[in-house]
């Protein structure tokens, strides 16, 4: 069966520090991968999606970047965190375009 792993579960980082959140998927090949952010009291905002290794589409210009070095690995990064980067970050995967997406457990990022 397919599983998705996201870590760390919680993270507290100072302003100006770098960020790396990792997401890996098991039990499937060639998934579409997604990064979302849920800010306090807000919906799920699509940040990046990827349809293959090295292919990244950005939805919102911001302080973050994403990379997909392997088929089932998706990384969210920042060189210098801002206070506004705080939120709940979720990774998701899906196969095809008319199916549901499956989510990881999320990372709670607090920038202080």
């Amino acid at each position: 069966s397919q599983t998705i792993h996201q870590w760390p579960a919680t993270l507290v980082q100072p302003v100006g520090s770098p960020l790396s959140l990792e997401c890996t998927v098991e039990g499937t090949s060639n998934p579409n991968l997604y990064w979302y952010r849920q800010a306090a009291g807000r919906g799920l905002q699509l940040l990046f999606y990827s349809v293959g290794i090295g292919q990244i589409s950005s939805e919102v210009p911001q302080n973050l970047s994403a990379s997909r070095p392997q088929d089932r690995q998706f990384i969210l990064s920042s060189k210098k965190l801002l206070l506004s980067d705080s939120g709940f970050y979720l990774c998701a995967w899906r196969i095809g375009t008319d199916t549901e997406a499956f989510f990881g457990q999320g990372t709670r990022l607090t920038v202080v």
């Binding site: 579409n32 919906g43 799920l44 699509l46 589409s57 375009t97 008319d98 499956f102 989510f103």
Partner: protein, 110 residues
């Protein structure tokens, strides 16, 4: 710009009654629609979906209705149970893009 909107941030319903959650979208190219349930500090879990070629899909207590002309989606939960209390997100997809609404917090009162 928010392409998928849920205009009701919260909803309270008595146990046993019907819960109706609404969602509007702006992009007429969306061809697949979904509803998710989410608890705090967890990832959303999939509930039910509908293709744009249909106007209704039913799964147990959950029914999703799609009105393409109005660009409107709704989720009906009948009967509502206290365990249904959570935040519900609608989502819409076209090609590889997958967008979520702002969520509606449902409280089912015993």
């Amino acid at each position: 710009d928010q392409q998928v909107k849920q205009n009701s941030p919260s909803l309270s319903v008595q146990e046993g009654r019907i819960s109706i959650l609404n969602c509007d979208y702006t992009n007429s190219m969306f061809d697949y629609f979904l509803w998710y349930k989410k608890y705090p500090a967890e990832g959303p879990t999939f509930l039910i979906s509908i293709s744009s070629i249909k106007d209704k899909n039913e799964d147990g207590r959950f029914t999703v209705f799609l009105n393409k002309s109005a660009k409107h989606l709704s989720l009906h939960i009948v009967p509502s149970q206290p365990g249904d209390s959570a935040v519900y997100f609608c989502a819409a997809s076209v090609s590889n893009q997958f967008y979520f609404g702002t969520g509606t917090s449902l409280t089912v009162i015993p």
